[in-house]
């Protein structure tokens, strides 16, 4: 196999990795906020359920969660899965896993905001929604960006876990090439791709952090 073919196969795989990455963020970032609210809910039942969900997601391997989501419908419910299910299962597992991590980051950020901010908004007649989205959330985002960056970078590397249920993302492709060609070159190229992807994401997150540098907390 020529190097060129190898690279183009890996590139194709990297598109799948990128899709997993993007869809996970699109799903987990907002879902995490909802989960964070559940975790902080007044209702003890909602709070308890959310706590349990988060502790399972963070306390068991993502790989295992991938298997459960993928095989669950068949073994638990007897539903014959469609061919599309493989990919959907990966996205589902990633979103519910990452939402749990994001939720804890959001919660930490939200709880760190001074009560005076809520009170100032309240006496100025802000509604709860306005208070949250106009006053609290922008400050929370600034505070949690470094932690979010860490998670997002972990996510890039985690996308390779999709190989366990044979979704042909970049690592799966690399593994197949290595097995067939008896050379490690594909792994090297894949590593380089991950590394570059990481650098790009770090750069973008850095820029976002810089945008939020327009003010400082005193």
């Amino acid at each position: 196999m020529s190097l060129e073919t190898m690279v183009s196969m890996l590139l194709e795989g990297s598109l799948t990795s990128l899709t997993i990455f993007a869809l996970t963020l699109i799903g987990a970032l907002p879902l995490g906020l909802v989960v964070a609210f559940g975790r902080m809910a007044k209702n003890p039942l909602i709070r308890g359920i959310t706590w349990f969900y988060i502790s399972i997601m963070r306390g068991t391997p993502l790989m295992l969660q991938l298997f459960v989501v993928y095989f669950g419908p068949y073994y638990l419910l007897g539903i014959q899965s469609s061919p599309d299910w493989r990919f959907t299962a990966v996205i589902t597992a990633f979103i519910i896993n990452y939402a749990a991590y994001f939720a804890e980051i959001y919660r930490g950020g939200i709880e760190s905001i001074d009560r005076g901010q809520y009170e100032a908004a309240e006496v100025l007649e802000y509604s709860s929604l306005q208070t949250f989205f106009l006053i609290i959330l922008p400050q929370v985002i600034k505070r949690i960006l470094p932690s979010l960056t860490n998670e997002v970078i972990t996510l890039i590397k985690d996308t390779s876990l999709a190989f366990v249920i044979s979704v042909s993302e970049m690592f799966t492709v690399a593994k197949a090439i290595v097995a067939a060609q008896k050379t490690m070159v594909a792994f090297g190229i894949a590593a380089l791709f991950y590394y570059i992807f990481n650098a790009i994401v770090s750069f973008i997150m850095g820029r976002i952090e810089r945008i939020f540098d327009f003010y400082k907390e005193d």
Partner: protein, 273 residues
């Protein structure tokens, strides 16, 4: 103050507890139009709690609140009288306006906090204009005109685009006063507006409050600045351990307190100065 000016704020027989701690134990206070009332007393006496109840940040357990003629909270008799119920006043409880009306009732007053509570992600100007636009639905231009007008009044016109972290404590407090004034409240509350400031900056804030008093702004001010209270307030109320023990014309009360504890409080302050 006019002798028979109508009440702007009236609090009747207010009780408030946190858990088992009774903080307000039957407080009544009224502030008339154009009047400046200073609330003094040693710390822990319940002054902030009273102001927070008047600001609707806390709810009374029992007692009434009127904003001008409008009842915000009314007392209702509790039918099954249970002395051990734990409420500060088990005989009655406060019934507040529905949530929506309560929210709009907040336009009636402005509150200036001890530690400013400016929004750090907004410039000085936007701290003033954003609430006008988000809440009062004022258009951009009108809000900005109002913001600039108030910043100019506070001597901060050139700081319009500065963020709170770029301002001194005194400047931040002036922005906070402008923000509280922006929606044209009928009464302005201050909770120790100079306590977080350096002594040399205190005068700058007190001067602004004095200017507002000269414009007949109705104000209720919690303060430890006794000289300021004596010179600027029309009336002073002395609060201790959840009760207002004495109210009177500012100079009379401060120069000749009749209550034992007021006297002790004032003489202790005198010793420290």
């Amino acid at each position: 103050m006019l002798p028979d000016a109508p009440c702007v704020l009236e609090i009747k027989d207010a009780y408030k507890g946190f858990g088992t701690v009774e903080v307000l134990k039957g407080v009544s206070l009224s502030v008339h139009e154009g009047e400046v009332v200073a609330l003094i007393g040693s710390s822990g006496g319940g002054k902030s709690t009273l102001l927070r109840c008047a600001s609707l940040l806390e709810r009374l357990d029992s007692g009434e609140i009127y904003f001008a003629d409008r009842a915000i909270a009314k007392s209702a008799e509790v039918s099954d009288f249970t002395p051990e119920a734990g409420a500060a006043n088990p005989r009655s409880s406060s019934i507040y306006l529905p949530k929506k009306e309560l929210r709009s009732a907040r336009a009636f007053f402005g509150l200036v906090f001890q530690n400013f509570n400016l929004f750090p992600h907004y410039t000085a100007l936007r701290n003033i204009t954003e609430p006008l636009m988000a809440v009062e639905k004022m258009d951009n231009k009108a809000a900005e005109a109002r913001g600039v007008e108030l910043l100019t009044k506070m001597g901060l016109a050139e700081k319009a685009d500065a963020y709170p972290f770029q301002l001194s404590g005194g400047q931040q407090q002036r922005v906070a006063i402008a923000r509280a004034l922006a929606p044209s409240p009928k009464i302005l509350y201050f909770d120790e507006p100079t306590s977080a400031l350096d002594p040399e900056i205190t005068a700058e804030i007190l001067k602004i409050i004095r200017d507002l008093a000269a414009e007949n702004m109705t104000m209720l001010i919690v303060t430890h600045e006794i000289n300021f209270a004596r010179n600027v307030a029309d009336r002073v109320a002395f609060m201790d351990q959840g009760l207002i023990l004495e109210t009177g014309f500012a100079k009379e009360l401060i120069d000749n307190p009749t209550n034992e504890r007021t006297r002790a409080f004032l003489s202790k302050l005198g010793d420290n100065d």
